[in-house]
Amino acid sequence: MAKPGLDGHDRGAKIIARALRDGGFEVIYTGLHQTPEMIVEAAVQEDVDAVGLSILSGAHMTLFPEVIRLLKEKGAGDVAVFGGGIIPDEDSAKLKTLGVSEVFTPGASTEDIVKWVREKVQPRQ
């Protein structure tokens, strides 16, 4: 679970991190104010199966694609990238064509998100 960008809205990220942990997953939370480089470095080092990005600053169209690009560059293009935040529907559709697996928006329940991760995220080979 990662918080890219400069904003400090970590309520959602922390709740999701905790819900996933309670759901039996091993969760690494990066803390705030991460650059895409820092996030990808942590993802590669910890050998994660998925990266969840929480963005509430409006910079999602810049930050999601950058994380995906860097993951590919590091040979970790098969790591699932999902996320959530204040993301308008049309941006969400565009992000999915750019390789984001799923985008959760306000009102999504922790249960749905945990279920999605359980069903859709494949452990990496």
């Binding site: 309520r11 803390g31 600053s57 308008p88």
Partner: protein, 546 residues
């Protein structure tokens, strides 16, 4: 036999009825009794309540409250380039708004210039970008700084922005003594909740106290700190936690200034507060009333403050952004109206009402107008401003006010035991308490114990059709080019010298504000001053507690 006590009534009369199968509790999950009576209100009128404008100010800080003067209607605004926000300021002043309130973008808030790589994608998004004094001049173009009071919501880079505002005043012929306004500058709540920081808590507090001292001496009409519960609540705290942590933050600032040798009555009258207005109406009214009583007593008893203005908790308030829903967004108009009512019954001095579209993006002009009109309707159509503290004496409100005060004082006792708020923050105590409360609320929402209309009840399939404000990505590039050009053209020798003097003040303990004012006159930027802080004080890293 007639019922004579509450207990008898509960046992004989009330228990004949059947309650709905729900949990009767406040939004913050305090259990609520079916009825409150004189038995629940134990305090003596004179000591617990008193009269408006009189100690302990439970019923209001001013003797005439809204009969004398309505609260200041102050809508928070900022987006894009300084020119865009300047146009919104002129629009709001034209609509009858009384004061300005500036929202800055994330790079400005975090102390990065527009041309820094960390600013990528964020310039002008969540607020307006101000990199140098030139942006400040564009932001306040044709606005009389000596007449309109301005609030600036900025914290870790506040010292640079305050300096720019004062230099802009001086360049338009307004003496500093006439400049009125507020800068948020509440770093403690940044570590607790909003999470915008540069250096660690101790040097951050030192910078805040430098500004408190500087304003007391040089800009006496300016409020150097707005002690904020808003972000604490929005991060998921309960109402009691908001009350407790905010007052504890206030005590920490006062202690630090007193420890530096300032007389409490020289600066305390310029401290102001900023509360959240959430949806549980009575809980919010009680919180606002309890806050005033607590502050007055603590300032008198702990610091020996004598000036009545040092004892008065004067406050801005904003409706709860976190309560707004992306689903059926027009419902937000109703939420905001109820929350604003709580602000008025709670006796606030100024207020921002959120716009219905703010879960989706920054608000459109139309949505901002409805939000402002909500305040104007309350002020001028409802008659609520005729009577001071109209809910005072309500058994339920007084019992809840007492309860909130008691519970908040218990938190403050714990924080005192830890050695004060700075120490408590180091151990993550308030941060964890808030995360816990946020998680509990989310669980209650998902279990249906708490309801949010349109989210976990009364949902409809919908596509969001309301118009939202879009920020053109071209603005970022324009601002970057402008900043680069300014940096090429300024006197770089003077810039280096000015920055050296700021760094020297960081080390010597001399008040930072004079050297920072001198630096911004030389076109030194927000990012460059922040870089001095980074080099001199170190960079704070999020411990990432979950």
């Amino acid at each position: 036999m007639a019922v004579t006590t509450k207990q008898e009534w509960l046992e004989r009369t009330y228990q004949r009825s059947k309650e709905r199968p729900v949990r009767f509790s406040t939004l913050s999950d305090l259990e609520v009794e079916p009825l409150y009576t004189p038995e629940d209100v134990t305090g003596d009128y004179a000591t617990a309540l008193g009269y408006p404008g009189e100690f302990p100010y439970t019923r209001g800080v001013y003797e005439s409250m809204y009969r004398g003067r309505l609260w200041t209607m102050r809508q928070f605004a900022g987006f894009g380039l300084a020119e865009d926000t300047n146009a919104r300021f002129h629009f709001l002043l034209g609509q009858g708004q009384d004061g300005l309130s500036t929202a800055f973008d994330m790079p400005t808030l975090m102390g990065y210039d527009a041309d820094h790589e960390r600013a990528m994608g964020e310039v002008g998004r969540e607020g307006v970008n101000v990199t140098s004094i030139h942006d400040m001049a564009r932001l306040f173009d044709r606005i009389p700084i000596g007449k309109v009071s301005t609030s600036m919501t900025i914290n870790c880079s506040a010292s640079a922005l305050l300096a720019m505002y004062l230099v802009q005043a001086e360049r338009t012929g307004v003496p500093w003594e006439q400049v009125s306004g507020t800068i948020q500058n509440d770093m403690l709540k940044e570590f607790i909740a909003q999470k915008e920081w540069i250096c660690p808590p101790a040097p951050s507090l030192r910078i805040v106290t430098d500004m408190v001292e500087f304003c007391a001496k040089k800009a006496p009409r300016f409020h150097p700190v707005s002690i904020s519960g808003y972000h604490i609540r929005e991060a998921g705290s309960t109402a009691v936690q908001e009350l407790a942590f905010t007052i504890a933050d206030g005590l920490c600032y006062v202690q630090d200034a007193v420890d530096r040798g300032l007389d409490v009555d020289d600066f305390a009258p310029r401290l102001s507060f900023f509360w959240d207005l959430h949806s549980d109406f009575l809980e919010e009214v009680a919180k606002l009333r309890a806050g005033r009583r607590m502050w007055a007593r603590l300032m008198r008893d702990r610091f020996g403050a004598k000036n009545p203005k040092s004892l008065m908790l004067r406050t801005h308030a904003q409706t709860a952004g976190v309560s707004l829903t992306a689903q059926q967004p027009i419902n937000n108009v109703v939420r905001v109206a109820v929350q604003a009512l709580a602000g008025v019954f709670g006796g606030v001095q100024s207020m921002h009402t959120n716009s219905m579209d703010e879960t989706l993006a920054l608000p459109t002009e139309q949505a901002v107008m409805v939000a402002l009109r909500t305040q104007q309707i309350i002020a001028e159509e409802t008659g609520l401003t005729n009577t001071i503290d109209a809910l005072g004496g309500s058994y339920a409100v007084e019992a809840l006010t007492d309860r909130m005060e008691r519970d908040a004082l218990e938190y403050i006792r714990k924080i005192d035991e830890m050695g004060g708020m700075l120490k408590a923050i180091d151990t993550g105590y308030p941060q964890r308490e808030i995360a816990e409360a946020a998680f509990l609320y989310q669980r209650q929402l998902e279990q249906g114990i708490k309801t949010v209309v349109g989210v976990n009840k009364y949902q409809v399939p919908e596509e969001i059709t309301i118009e939202v404000l879009k920020i053109d990505p071209v603005l970022e590039e324009r601002q970057i080019q402008r900043v680069r050009k300014m940096k090429r053209e300024r006197n770089s020798v003077a810039v280096r010298e000015a920055l050296r003097l700021v760094a020297e003040a960081c080390r010597s303990g001399e008040n930072l504000m004079e050297p920072i004012c001198a630096a911004v006159r030389r076109d030194v930027t927000v990012g460059e001053i922040s870089d001095v802080y980074r080099a001199e004080f170190g960079v704070y890293k999020d411990p990432g507690w979950i």
